[in-house]
């Protein structure tokens, strides 16, 4: 499928509202989740006094 | 001056007590004594205005406490079997709110100072539900350190307290009495409190 113009792409054959309504909210949810997790981690790091994203440690 | 005259309490078929007379003046202590079920709690709830005597009258400076209405609650502080400590609030919040309800607003710093005096250092910001029995009771008693009322009515204040806490309460009461407060108290534990005069009221 190829779209002839961006306008046609955005209108989605007249169903633009529904298609974009679905996609936008879905990605908003995803973005929200990511933000929440990162925020939780940041708060924790501040609370625990961790200096950095310490994801690794030397294996012994 | 608090005066009770000819007080009677009937529960079910039973006359718990009748013809009780007493009067307390500033600086005086009254210990209500008697075995289990003799009516001490019932009497104390009458004196603070929560319950009504079956007959007889309770007067504050010669006016009936019923007629004083809410003004009487400016005079009296009551601490019952139930300590009035909310499980879902921290010790500080509990103290601030109960004293606000009694008309005394304090800030967090003050509240936490008072709690430390009650031996709750380090527990000020814990939710009350995780506190031990005795710690909860201390939170409830902390209110006394702030109260500016003239009469304290305490029902078994020593329950669940350890020895050091009992000493503390004793000191608080003595100081209050020395400043002209009045205390009505029940307890099954022996405690010796210095007061201008100590009345003993025996129920049986």
């Amino acid at each position: 499928m190829s779209w002839n113009s961006w306008a046609e792409f955005f209108s989605m054959g007249g169903y633009g509202l529904y298609v974009w309504g679905s996609y936008l909210v879905s990605f908003a949810c995803i973005a929200g989740e990511i933000w929440l997790i990162l925020n939780r981690r940041r708060t924790l790091q501040k609370y625990l006094g961790l200096k950095d994203e310490s994801t690794t440690r030397e294996e012994k | 001056m608090l005066q009770g005259s000819n007080l009677e309490c009937i529960r079910g078929d039973r006359v718990l007590f009748s013809g009780i007379n007493f009067s307390i003046k500033p600086g005086e202590l009254m210990q209500v004594r008697g075995p289990n079920g003799s009516g001490k709690t019932s009497l104390l709830r009458m004196l603070c205005g929560l319950a009504v005597p079956n007959s007889g009258e309770i007067r504050w400076n010669s006016s009936n406490i019923r007629s004083l209405g809410e003004d009487y609650f400016n005079i009296v502080t009551y601490l019952g079997h139930l300590s009035g400590v909310k499980d879902d609030l921290t010790a500080i919040e509990n103290l601030r709110i109960t004293s606000a309800l009694a008309g005394i607003e304090i800030d967090e710093k003050k509240a936490s100072k008072v709690l430390q005096e009650m031996g709750l250092e380090g527990r000020e910001t814990l939710l009350a539900k995780v506190l031990s029995q005795g710690q909860k009771r201390r939170v409830a008693l902390a209110r006394l350190l702030l109260a500016r009322t003239k009469l304290w009515i305490l029902d078994e204040p020593l329950t669940a307290l350890d020895i050091s806490a009992i000493e503390l309460i004793k000191k608080i009461l003595e100081q209050y009495l020395a400043q002209g407060g009045m205390v009505i108290l029940t307890t099954h534990q022996e405690i010796d409190i210095a007061a201008t005069a100590t009345h003993q009221l025996y129920l049986s």
Binding site: - | D71, F73, L101, A102
Partner: protein, 232 residues
């Protein structure tokens, strides 16, 4: 000679303290707030399951169902207004507070409404969509709940106060309170039905408003009296 009233607190201060306290408690127990709301949602969603998926039937039922659910949700949360305070002795302290008890009670009613009523009002349009209500009816539904839910909190508190300390009070309270809720239900749901039928709903609203005013005046006082009886 009655003692002097101390002046280091004012009535308004008291009101703010008690509302702050109740909201704080609600925050601590966010679950409480959320679960009343979810109860509402779930009850509304249960009916189609029992009745079947036919949209026309559902549309007719919608105002009644949403209102009955709001009523039940609000009623179920009544227990919390006084009973926790009663059990841990805080209520005794409130009764012994040197302020007008009616005022404190009004504060508690207001925070009850904030915590249980307002979320229902906000959620109602979404649930109305589930029943395929037209936009106009959704609007009236929301407005009717906005007027009606405070009445539920006000009247409910009386029942809660009367049944305090009685075991099984949770169900007893519904027995006492539901008859009083019925007029609210009839006019609330009636307004929405009228708007669906294209009729005027102003009459219903003014009746609801009148109820609200009457209960605002009498409920705090009655509740205060009931509390003194229940605890005394």
């Amino acid at each position: 000679m009655p003692p002097q009233r101390r002046i280091n607190y004012t009535f308004l201060n008291m009101l703010i303290w008690i509302i702050r306290r109740d909201l704080l408690l609600a925050m601590r127990r966010q679950a409480d707030v959320l679960t009343t709301l979810f109860f509402f949602i779930i009850v509304v969603s249960l009916f189609p399951l029992g009745v079947g998926p036919e949209m026309n039937t559902l549309r007719i039922m919608a105002p009644g169902v949403v209102w009955v659910a709001a009523l039940l949700a609000s009623m179920l949360s009544l227990g919390r207004i006084f009973s926790t305070d009663y059990l841990d002795g805080t209520l005794e302290q409130i009764l012994l507070s040197p302020t007008s008890l009616s005022l404190l009670v009004l504060g508690k009613m207001f925070s009850h409404w904030l915590v249980t009523g307002v979320p229902l009002v906000l959620m109602a349009p979404v649930l109305g969509i589930q029943y395929d209500l037209p936009a106009n009816a959704l609007f009236v539904l929301t407005l009717s709940l906005l007027l009606g839910t405070p009445i539920l909190s006000l009247i409910g508190a009386i029942g809660a106060a009367l049944t305090l300390g009685l075991r099984g009070g949770g169900v007893l309270v519904s027995l006492l309170v539901l008859p009083l809720y019925i007029p609210v239900l009839i006019f609330g749901a009636g307004a929405v039905e009228a708007s669906i039928a294209g009729l005027g709903f102003e009459a219903h609203f003014s009746l609801l408003g009148a109820f609200l005013l009457v209960s605002l005046v009498f409920a705090p006082w009655t509740t205060a009296a009931s509390l003194r009886i229940s605890v005394g």
